[in-house]
Structure formats: structure tokens, C-alpha cells
């Protein structure tokens, strides 16, 4: 076993290794305030893309993304995922229509914002919204609530009409927290796409498909797999990565030299 490892090391050209390392940065030489390196900048400039060009993404680029995804870290190396790729525009539109229909059903029951205050319809929908929030508090956060409402009024799309959709299915039997591993494999995919000049968007509302026996069968989602997210892929419209964005800072508890600091 050691022989194989030694052989690999020997075969590598030391100059080439140094050159590759230098492409990112020589770790010892980074001073405070040094400009963002190419990887950092890629992360800072990745945006969620919701307007795609019609042009299909070459299949080999999708394979490249999946290939990088395959090397994502996972708990206990359990790799609790399986990919489904949909590149058929009609099928994507059917999925869009199905999920939008589900949004309309939900909005019809709980979207009180479309009713005048003081009316019975308003009172009823508000009550139902609060009940639903008790049952599914994370899904009933005001932001997805607004998204569902917009989709129901045809002012927003679920998948955003991309040429390709990737579903990273989650194996429920994954070690520890398989949702985390799905997030990491998805990040690998999304960041690879970004590095290739493609745009992506995580689509949480796609999980409606998981609750539909017809779609589960059509997409081949069988127990113990679960469809929890989708990733839309395509060429983005305009230059959505021109500037970096602002984000709120977060409190960080910093323990050092025997004391605790709060930094933002």
C-alpha cells in the first residue's frame, strides 16, 4: 500500500505542484487585507439566478458538475444522495405547472394578503395561516409565504424556466444529518456551475413533487429516497455577478486568551 503512495508522489513533478499551489495563493504569504483570491471571489460573486436564456447547457458541463459533486464530504463518507437530471423542456414546464398549482391551492387557503382587512375571507385565511404555521413553522416563514403567494398570482416561477434541472435526492438513511450532506454536494455542484459561467438556483418549492405519487414514479423517487430540493441550471440573463452584494453581519462569539469577545 505504501509503495503505491510513494510511486504517486514520485511521479508528480515538484515544479508543477508548486505552480498549482501558487494559483490559489501561497498560504504563508497572505497578509491581512490581501485581495480575495480566485476561490474566495467565486464564492462572493455566486448569485442565485432566476432568469435564464433559452439555450441548453451542454451535457458534458452538467456531467462535470455532478462529477465534482461526487467528491463532496459527507458524514461517515455515507454519500446519501442520488442525482436526477431533467433536460426536457416540456417536462420542466409540466413540473413548473404542477408546483405552481400546489402553490395556488395553498395560497387559496392561507394567503390572507389578497383579502381586505375586516372581511370574513381575511379572517378565515389568517386563522388557517396561523394553524399551518404551528404545524410547519419553517415553511410558513413570511419569505416562502410571499413566494407561494407570488407564484399563485403568476408573478414568480418555481423553477424559473431553466433548460436543465438537477434533483439531488436524499437517502433518508444517511448518517447523522443527511440534509447537511445534500447541502454540501449541492454547493459543490452550484460552485462548479458558477466557475463554468453558468447560473443556478436552489428551488425548495420543488419538494411538492416529493408528495406527488405520480411525480415520484415519473422521476424515479423511491423509498428511502426523498426529493427535498432542486437546482435549476442555465445561462444567466445579463451580468448578475457584476458586483458583490451586501449581507448582514452575524454575531460571532470569539474565545481567545482566556476571554470571550463578541465580534460581528
Amino acid at each position: 500500500m505504501n509503495d503505491v503512495a510513494t510511486e504517486i508522489v514520485r511521479e508528480e513533478d515538484p515544479e508543477k505542484i508548486e505552480e498549482q499551489a501558487g494559483q490559489v495563493a501561497k498560504i504563508d504569504e497572505i497578509e491581512e487585507g490581501a485581495p480575495w483570491n480566485i476561490v474566495e471571489e467565486a464564492f462572493l460573486k455566486r448569485r442565485s439566478i432566476r432568469k435564464f436564456k433559452k439555450k441548453q447547457v451542454p451535457a458534458h458541463l452538467i456531467r462535470r458538475m455532478l462529477e465534482v459533486g461526487r467528491f463532496a464530504p459527507s458524514q461517515g463518507n455515507c454519500q446519501p444522495w442520488k442525482m436526477v437530471v431533467v433536460r426536457d423542456r416540456e417536462m420542466i414546464e409540466e413540473m413548473e405547472n404542477y408546483c405552481a398549482g400546489e402553490c395556488r391551492k395553498i395560497a387559496g387557503m392561507v394567503d390572507y394578503t389578497v383579502h381586505e382587512k375586516g372581511t370574513f375571507a381575511r379572517w378565515k385565511t389568517e386563522m388557517l395561516a396561523k394553524l399551518l404555521a404551528k404545524w410547519k413553522p419553517n415553511s410558513m416563514h413570511p419569505v416562502p409565504f410571499a413566494a407561494v403567494s407570488l407564484v399563485a398570482r403568476n408573478r414568480f416561477a418555481v423553477f424559473h424556466h431553466p433548460p436543465t434541472v438537477i434533483f439531488p435526492l436524499m437517502d433518508k438513511r444517511g448518517i447523522g444529518h443527511p440534509e447537511i450532506d445534500l447541502g454540501i454536494v449541492g454547493t459543490n455542484i452550484v460552485m462548479t456551475a458558477h466557475s463554468l459561467g453558468l447560473g443556478t438556483c436552489w428551488v425548495g418549492l420543488a419538494s411538492f413533487l416529493n408528495d406527488s405519487p405520480e411525480w415520484r414514479e415519473r422521476l424515479g423517487v423511491e423509498e428511502p429516497y426523498q426529493l427535498i430540493e432542486a437546482i435549476s441550471v442555465g445561462y444567466s440573463l445579463g451580468k448578475p455577478t457584476l458586483n458583490t452584494v451586501s449581507r448582514e453581519t452575524h454575531e460571532t462569539a470569539w474565545f481567545e486568551a482566556g476571554k470571550k469577545d463578541l465580534v460581528y
Binding site: 487585507g33 413566494a147 454575531e251
Partner: protein, 109 residues
Amino acid sequence: MALLTKKEMKRIPIVDDANDAQYGVVAIDPDKCSGCKMCTLICPSNVLEVFGEKRERRVRVKAGLAMCLACDNCHAICERGAISIVRGYDFVGRYKQLDRGAPTQPRLE
């Protein structure tokens, strides 16, 4: 110890009540805006619109309930640096934001 009381955790904000919900706020510089419409196309919350004719065309936040989620995508796509977020969203009760500072560009120091 908890940052929210049980009562707060049970309180679900009414999304179109200004006492319960604050949405993201964008600042638009009309001198820089050319009304190119890109930000209105990519805004995930559909809160932006263009108004005015030809050279006078500018972008503005739509009237009524504008549920901006402060993603700053409008800023990212703007070639003229005419738009950016100045405040994130926040809610009362269960969905109250905790331990946050103001929106900030990537910092090197």
C-alpha cells in the same frame, strides 16, 4: 436561557402589518439609474418596476406591499451602481432576526 420567550415563539407575524413585518429597503439613485430594467427582471420578490418615458425612465419600488428579501441581486446586476439594499428584513415573534449587524459588503479587514 433563550433569546425568545415561549410567547414570542408562538407569535406568528402578520406579513402585511407594518407593526409585525419590516421588509428590505433599497436605495435608488435616480441620477445613476438608466431605467435598463435588469433589476426588475431578476428581483425574486417582484418589488421593482420602471416608470417614465425614454430618457426619463427610472426604476422604483412598487406601491403597496413590497416584500423585499434584501438579497441585493439588484445591486449585483446594476452596471451603473444605482441601486443597493440599505436594510434587511425583520419580523416580530417567531421569525425575529437575532444577533445581526447591518448589511455590509465583503470585508477584508
